[in-house]
Amino acid sequence: MKPAAFQYHNPLTVEDAVATLAEVAPDQGRILAGGQSLVPTMAFRLATPEHLVDINGIEELGRLAIEDGVLSIGACVRHAAFHRPVLEGGFGAILTRMAGHIGHYPIRQRGTFCGSLAQADPSSEWCLAAVTLDASITAQSTRGGRTIAGADFIEGIMTTALDEDELLVETRFALPAADTRFGFVEFSRRAGDFALAMALASFRLSGGVMIEARLGIGGAEDRPRRIGEAEAELNGQPPGTPAFEAAAAAVAAELDPMEDAGTSAQYRRELAQCLARRALESAAS
């Protein structure tokens, strides 16, 4: 089907964008970034925004920068920007691996990192990264700017902490220590499908044991989250099968998975348990 009619706005500055958004948000106004989720939703008439504020013409939002120990990702940075590592080492490599699971190659040329966060699909790879690796998300409106922690940003299925007049302008990650190890594993039934579950793991080694362990699960519940009980099984333990299996078991015990026509909660729980172990093994290897 064709999208319903809307009024098109293409501001060239963030200032103009948030001014326009403030004006049209109460009247079903939405931001248009990559459009790879919004436009299909409009084609199904599940979304019928009266106004679209296109931010693709705002040059500063295309900025991807690494400076002062921070990776900054502007609102119009495409998934494809991560096809090759944006920095050396494990962090850049894991972002590239995660990017490869997002939709398909043409989708990744257009869809944006920040747009994925604003969409807050439970199976979003970037939402899992933002939650697990402590992103800070900058929102701007005519009322000013504020920063939201990744873990507080996603409130549920396609629901975020953004107010209707706020534009997500940038996502920032403090660069992890250079010796941080990462692992990411995702399962979907076909290439490019939404994940049924995925796991992102990271830890450092100190004196032969794991420290600063993080284990995030996405796609299984209504939002991605770190599983603290699993991380507790890792910290202070040597990397290896006993600790990884204990952490994976904690994931299974803690999760309250979503169900759908083809996937039971028990299936997703066992899948997440398996993926958690594999992500940890991948981080260790």
């Binding site: 009619a5 809307f6 098109y8 293409n10 436009v39 043409p106 040329q109 490019g192």
Partner: protein, 160 residues
Amino acid sequence: MTDKHDLTLTINGFDHAITVDARRTLADAIRDQCGQTGTHIGCEHGVCGSCTVLLDGVPVRSCLIFAVQCEGLAIRTVEGLAEGDELHPLQRSFIKHHALQCGFCTPGFLMLAVGILENEPNIADADLRELLSSNLCRCTGYANIVKAVRAAADELREGR
């Protein structure tokens, strides 16, 4: 509600001055208003890849972009592949390797593959298969499509 926009689309180097509603997708504008019907429309929601075109050198789903967003961008469609009567190496390779049957998905696959090969000329077999999974072919011609693109990739690389 009407929200009309006058704009110029540049398709295969030719300018097309058109007037569109904001809701008009690039795919519809290319076909209905610029007369370039080589670009096919299948699902209209970004799944099938039939409408793939190159936008500033990279393959995109033209059903997921509005025409009003595309002024000043270089659009390439299947009509721009051949030079006169000389088919593009990829088109010749599709014929040689029987990479199409009904042909509906073919323009999308050609533009996807051209975009991949121009951006990743040394792509590995496994990566090529993964990227070609972007588009759907319902005659189940995938094996021959992979063969055709692989052969064209090798020919294009040797020609450089």
